[in-house]
């Protein structure tokens, strides 16, 4: 048959099917009375025809066929047959010789083929999470959380996971440069010594800018530098600005610090804009804490309530029980309203007035009812707001319970005032020398332009940087510094908990640790020799940490244990050395602990003196006067007079853009927008409709005398009066991947602070690469949810359907559907997974972890647009209307409803989706070559070398979790952007290689299962029942499970008394798309929202009918 005619038929069929599926979906939704209306995009909500077109083309568009003159199928087969014959004739040759090169002297702790794990610290952001890094044959290949670490407790976010790839980034600096030309270390040191010589007597004209140095040795390095150049300004710089919290606490509690936060003790969290689960301060640690309050089971019938008051839908907002949508400018008024309400109830006189607000009054009432068990936070830069927040927490008795001013946070000690002063000093000529250590303010500060000018003006500009980034490019001397995995370091991000960072690998390039450079330039000595950082670090710990740790008798043992564990918990007392040099001024940002630590550090290399003693830190002193002072701070001026308030926000993956050359983070879909590669303008659906634009239409955003053109992403939950633009894009000097990707939106607010903007349509289109919209569940609903009130009454709430429809009543397990297939027997292990939708925040750490563990290729934007992303694990994000489901059975009907109103402030469910390892796997039955078969342990295995790439399996998978290798990656736009030889070092050698033309998917991390089995064999475990069950019930941990900061994923043996079995037996447990009868090994736990929702009407019967219909 003519190929062309086929195509026409296909088209006809496609359009017919589109109409049919629409009819089905309408019928489905019509019968689902009382069910919540759920949508994955605004287009789907408004029934935009483009959605159904996308769905019909789910496996790709029909190829373009020409005028019929091309090769016909039979001819093609002839040719290809001949080619195979020829190819097989040549394939008889011997393989090339391969070599096995053993070590000359094998390192004692290293066994080729076995991984070593080392504890270290994450330095991708300032949070300072504890890590365990997997090293194979000396190469770090996988980052996991250190479960014993007291702060992060095993949590690592997506950025931290992806950090290991930064190590193998060929775009890092390969050596030092002087005056822009490649140099060597000796001439550079000579040049630096010459340039800095003048400052030895005139230190005041020199400034050293560093990120937060919280560890004692990190501080001591700076102190040594200060000693060499007396009077040198030390300015702490971080891209994230939280200085208002510190400033407010200086006034309210006479302690210049950010209090330690304990979400795990809070029953009620109110956040004004702070995205504490996504990007704010220590998101991984906070997620860990928060999720522990969200766990509900038959044994634990309590649950926290989370209220988010914000402008754009943040990750935290998407997980909040209640969410108020406000403008940025309204925040101050609302916080004050809450403060006034709390003041009135507790008898304090604030001396301010604020307009009353019903919803705030309700929150105040709730908070007052549970004093000491709530937590109020804000991300505001406004000292008055932070002062009011501190006041609210104080009045509610939260200090000492959910907030801790003794074990305060030191992860971000940046001081905006000091930065402003430095910039002014450079401008006035008072400071002529800048040493910039691992910071990039010329890109990621709120005022990059001012920084660029300052660096250009400085006579001496030295950058200690990993990259020739925007800042280093402006500096005359660039000392190439190590990646964190090549460096030593220490941190004290929470006072009293010290984290030790050890290197995993020698520097790959000709780089030098920044601390080494600083110590050398400062002429510091340890034991009479010029100091490098490791002996310096050890000596500092011997002097300062050991005394705080109770003077261990054997310091070597203490040190070894600290390095091994990666952390040490010590007293919160300050180290005081009488007679320490008085001329060194304490840095402005420092906490009392830190000041004392520095004072002692300057005395280096003098050995610990007997007079050294500990001093209890002064208690915080709360005064109402301080609060009043804070509240008197005037509100920040809003620049410009545009129609919309402008929100610039860090994304969960890229934050402030430091890792903009990391392809994993670009390809990780944003948790809320589900877009990849590049930034966009978030417009609320109503705003976009008013402007006449839809997703991917380009708009021009005008503010601050600049215009930025970005494609639109329709963003449910965003306030109609605001537009939100992601930070971290549009870099110019980060590397081949990040350069020119997206737009830098800081230009819209050149002075930093708040601004208004105008938005106009340009008429251009720039497709945004979304990851979710192109998979179709044919309108089947895979989410189950309920409210806390309902669940408390009935633990099966929201999950009632399981009891009834389609289940085999004779079976022990009601979930086993009737089937025409013989059931599989699992005499040994039966692997299963349960994902708690109540804990999952959608942060994406599992996605990146899976990518790295399984060597999943990055495909690039154009391929994502062709729905060819390779992620084995994805997180589906569903929006639904807020509040109870309509009792009267309202349907999706654009003629009756204002559908866009549903997207004003929707509720969100994040649902991780991976291969469900079905017992009745639809993929297995259609594979013509038995490449995908069922294992005796319940795995749906994929033998890649057997796969011939028919893609039937993907077509037949109701969960859309199979991924086809269209190419050998890197391919297309990704080609040449990474150095293959270098990136190959990051690959996991325990994973099978997949080439193009092969289907791949989640394997339940079968390599980890096999690794545990090998361990069991080495330990000589005997399996008495001869059924192969030699792993302990919870012994195997999949990559996604291990990395989940929320502990939402449990994995284990369903045939044993495992955690996952317990979850499986919980009434909340359900199988996704149970109506298709696949009997997945992955199950989910019903989402429970702790909202004030009234009880929704029961709707099992409708569910039943709908499911039946879908089945038929």
């Amino acid at each position: 048959m003519d190929r062309n005619r086929d195509h026409k038929n296909d088209n006809r069929e496609a359009s017919h099917k589109t109409a049919q599926s629409l009819a089905i979906s309408n019928a489905l939704s019509a019968t689902r009375k009382g069910a919540k209306r759920r949508f994955v995009s605004v287009e789907e909500l408004t029934r935009n025809p483009s959605v159904d077109v996308l769905r019909e083309q789910e496996l790709g568009q029909v190829p373009v066929v020409g005028d019929g003159s091309e090769l016909q199928r039979r001819d093609f087969m002839k040719v290809i047959g001949a080619t195979f014959a020829a190819a097989s004739a040549t394939a008889c040759a011997r393989l090339p010789e391969r070599y096995a090169r053993p070590y000359v002297q094998k390192p004692e702790e290293l066994t080729p083929g076995r991984a070593n794990w080392y504890a270290t610290a994450c330095r991708t952001c300032s949070a300072g999470c504890g890590l365990l890094v997997k090293s194979r044959d000396g190469r770090p290949i996988k980052v996991e959380g250190n479960a014993e670490h007291p702060v992060s407790k095993g949590g690592v976010c997506a950025s931290g996971q992806a950090g290991v790839l930064d190590l193998y980034d060929g775009d890092r600096l390969r050596g030092p440069t002087v005056g822009g030309a490649p140099s060597k270390w000796d001439p550079l040191d000579v040049e630096v010594a010459k340039q800095l010589a003048a400052y030895a007597t005139n230190g005041k004209a020199l400034a050293i800018v560093t990120p937060t140095a919280s560890g004692p040795a990190s501080r001591a390095v700076i102190a040594a530098f200060q000693k060499k150049f007396p009077g040198v300004q030390h300015v702490v710089y971080e891209a994230e600005t939280i200085g208002a919290i510190t400033a407010a606490h200086a006034l309210t509690h006479s302690k210049k610090a950010v209090p330690g936060l304990h979400f795990e003790r809070a029953e009620y969290v109110v956040s004004f804009g702070a995205d504490y689960l996504g990007t704010w301060l220590q998101p991984a640690a906070f997620t860990k804490q928060w999720s522990s309050t969200r766990a509900v089971s038959l044994d634990k019938k309590t649950m926290s309530r989370t209220v988010q008051i914000e402008t754009r839908l943040s990750l935290t907002g998407s997980n909040a029980d209640e969410r108020l949508r406000i403008l940025p400018s309204e925040q101050r008024g609302l916080v004050l309203a809450l403060a006034v309400k709390i003041a009135a109830a507790t008898g304090a006189d604030l001396g301010v007035t604020a307009a009353s607000n019903d919803k705030i009054d309700k929150i105040a009432k709730d908070l007052l009812a549970i004093k000491g068990k709530s937590l109020v936070v804000s991300d505001s830069d406004d000292v008055a707001v932070q002062g009011a927040v501190a006041f609210i927490n104080e009045q509610l008795g939260n200090y000492g319970k959910t907030l801790d001013l003794y074990s305060h946070l030191q992860s971000n000690l940046a001081d905006a005032a000091a930065i402003d002063k430095l910039l002014a000093d450079v401008k006035s000529g008072a400071v002529t020398g800048l040493v910039l250590v691992g910071v990039n303010p010329a890109y990621d500060s709120p005022t990059p332009g001012a920084w660029a000018q300052a660096i250009k003006k400085a006579e001496v500009s030295i950058a200690l940087s990993q990259r020739a980034d925007e800042t280093a490019k402006l500096c005359k001397i660039v000392a190439a510094s190590n990646h964190a995995l090549e460096s030593w370091g220490d941190l004290e991000t929470v006072a009293g908990t010290l984290t030790l960072q050890q290197p995993l690998v020698n520097p790959i390039f000709d780089t030098r640790q920044a601390e080494d450079s600083l110590l050398l330039w400062a002429g510091a000595q340890v034991a009479g020799k010029p100091a490098t950082f490791l002996p310096f670090l050890r000596e500092t710990w011997q002097q300062q940490v050991a005394i705080r740790a109770g003077k261990p008798a054997d310091f070597q043992k203490f040190w070894d244990k600290s390095v091994h564990d990666g952390y040490v918990v010590v007293g919160r007392e300050n180290v005081v050395i009488p007679g320490g040099p008085a001329e060194v001024a304490p840095p402005q940002d420092a906490s009392p602990v830190a000041i004392a630590a520095e004072a002692s550090a300057v005395a280096l290399p003098v050995a610990a003196t007997p007079e050294m003693k500990l001093e209890a830190p002064p208690p915080p002193l709360y005064t109402l006067e301080g609060v009043k002072k804070a509240l008197a701070t005037p509100a920040a001026k809003v620049e410009g007079a545009g129609k919309f308030e402008l929100v610039l926000f860090p994304t969960v993956a890229l934050r402030y853009g430091q890792q903009a050359n990391n392809p994993f983070l670009h390809e990780m879909p944003d948790p809320i927008t589900k877009s990849t590669w590049g930034n966009y303008a978030c417009l609320s659906p109503k705003t976009a409709t008013a402007l006449g634009v839809g997703s991917s239409d380009v708009v021009a955003v005008k503010a601050g005398g600049a215009t930025v053109e970005l494609p639109v992403v329709l963003s449910p939950g965003l306030h109609d009066g605001a537009i939100a633009l992601p930070l971290g894009f549009g870099r110019t000097a980060v590397g081949k991947i990040g350069d020119g990707l997206g737009k830098d939106v800081r230009v819209l607010v050149p002075g930093g602070g708040a601004a208004r903007a105008d938005v106009t349509k340009t008429g251009a289109v720039d497709p945004v690469a979304f990851s979710q919209v192109h998979h179709s569940y044919e309108h089947r609903d895979s989410v189950r949810e309920t409210s806390f009130a309902e669940w408390s009454e009935d633990p099966k709430a929201g999950n009632e359907t399981l009891e009834e429809s389609m289940h085999d009543p004779g079976k022990r397990d009601k979930r086993i559907t009737r089937s025409i297939w013989n059931r599989h027997e699992y005499p040994g292990h039966k692997w299963g997974m349960a994902i708690d939708l109540n804990k999952c925040t959608g942060c994406g750490a599992c996605v990146v972890s899976c990518n790295i563990e399984n060597n999943i290729p990055v495909v690039g934007k154009s391929e994502v647009l062709l729905r060819r992303e390779m992620h084995w694990m994805r997180i589906d994000r569903y929006f639904s209307e807020r509040g109870p489901a309509p009792a009267d059975g309202q349907d999706w009907d654009s003629t009756k409803d204002d559908l866009l109103a549903l997207a004003d402030n929707p509720e969100v469910v994040h649902m991780p989706m991976l291969c469900q390892q079905c017992d009745n796997a639809p993929c297995e039955t259609v594979c013509p070559v038995l490449a995908t078969v069922h294992s005796s342990e319940g795995l749906n295995t994929q033998a890649y070398n057997r796969c011939i790439g028919t893609r039937y399996c993907a077509n037949n998978c109701p969960y859309k979790v199979r991924r086809f290798n269209w190419f050998n990656y890197p391919h297309g736009e990704m080609e040449g952007k990474q150095e293959k030889d270098l990136v190959a070092l990051a690959l996991n050698p325990d994973i099978t290689k997949r080439s193009r033309g092969v289907m791949e998917k989640c394997s339940f991390c079968v390599q980890r299962i096999q690794e545990v089995k090998a361990l069991a064999a080495r330990e000589g475990r005997i399996d008495p029942n001869a059924n192969g069950q030699i792993c302990k019930p919870d012994e195997v941990k999949t990559a996604c499970q291990q990395s989940c900061p929320a502990e939402a994923i449990t994995f284990g043996d369903m045939n044993a008394a495992s955690q996952v079995k317990k979850q499986y037996d919980d009434p909340r447990n359900y199988s996704a798309l149970v109506e298709v009868g696949t009997q997945p090994a992955v199950t989910y736990m019903t989402k429970v929202r702790n909202s004030d929702r009234v009880r929704a009407p029961k709707h099992e019967k409708h569910e039943h009918a709908a499911a039946k219909k879908a089945e038929g």
Binding site: S69, L71, D75, V79, I80, A82, T83, A86, A87, T90, A91, R94, L95, P96, E97, R98, Y99, A100, R101, P102, Y103, V104, Q105, T111, P112, G113, R114, G828, V933, S935, S936, E937, L939, T941, A943, Y944, N945, R946, N968, D990, I991, T992, K993, S995, S1003, V1006, Q1007, Q1010, K1013, A1014, A1017, R1018, G1020, I1022, D1023, P1024, N1025, A1026, N1027, G1028
Partner: protein
């Protein structure tokens, strides 16, 4: 001849050549199955005799290949293991001098791999060694080989055959009896694809 037909023929020829190039190109060397290399006996850089060491001198296999019990890799011994004895034994032999030279200079010896498995198979030595499978089961009478060669086919059928034979259940099914030494260990060697292909 019709010019269009001519173009088509040229196109076909080009396509055939292109596919031939692609198939025989480097992309596919990684997945070429090298299982039928039975008897492969490459020339090694140093003429080390297993017959002398493992046979005549009766040294334990795992004295040198100590990684086999610990790791998936069988482990070629590091040079310092050779030097444990050869610091004093036969130091004047030209072959030993090669080792001593590599040891002095810190350069690795490029032994030619005899047993090559394709990239899509994982074989874990430690799982087999720790369950008591003798090295010779797969590697043959190494103690009699002056030069090591590939004794077994290492083909999938060969692997699976053994896995079936050693399993109590499967061995009955296939009319085989498990070897005596494994009788009480209740082993169940897997025949799942993912046992090796992962």
């Amino acid at each position: 001849m019709n010019p269009r037909t001519l173009t088509l023929r040229t196109l076909r020829l080009l396509l055939a050549l292109g596919l031939l190039a692609a198939l025989s190109g480097c992309e596919y060397t990684d997945v070429t199955v090298p299982t039928y290399q039975k008897g492969y006996k490459p020339v090694q850089p140093i003429s080390f005799s297993h017959k002398l060491h493992a046979g005549d001198l009766q040294m334990e296999c795992q004295y040198c290949h100590f990684g086999a019990a610990e790791s998936r890799n069988g482990s070629i011994p590091p040079v310092n293991v050779c030097m444990n004895c050869h610091k004093t034994v036969k130091t004047d032999s030209p072959q030993i001098k090669k080792i001593a030279d590599a040891y002095e200079k810190g350069t690795s010896i490029p032994w030619v791999k005899v047993h090559n498995l394709p990239d899509f198979v994982s074989f874990n030595h430690s799982r087999h060694v720790s369950r008591g499978v003798a090295c010779q089961t797969c590697h043959g009478p190494v103690q009699e080989m002056p030069e090591v060669y590939q004794f077994s086919s290492l083909a999938m059928g060969w692997c699976v055959n053994c896995h079936r034979q050693y399993s109590e259940k499967d061995s009955a099914q296939f009319g085989q009896t498990p070897p005596e030494q494994f009788k009480d260990m209740h082993l169940k060697p897997s025949t799942d694809c993912a046992a090796c292909h992962h």
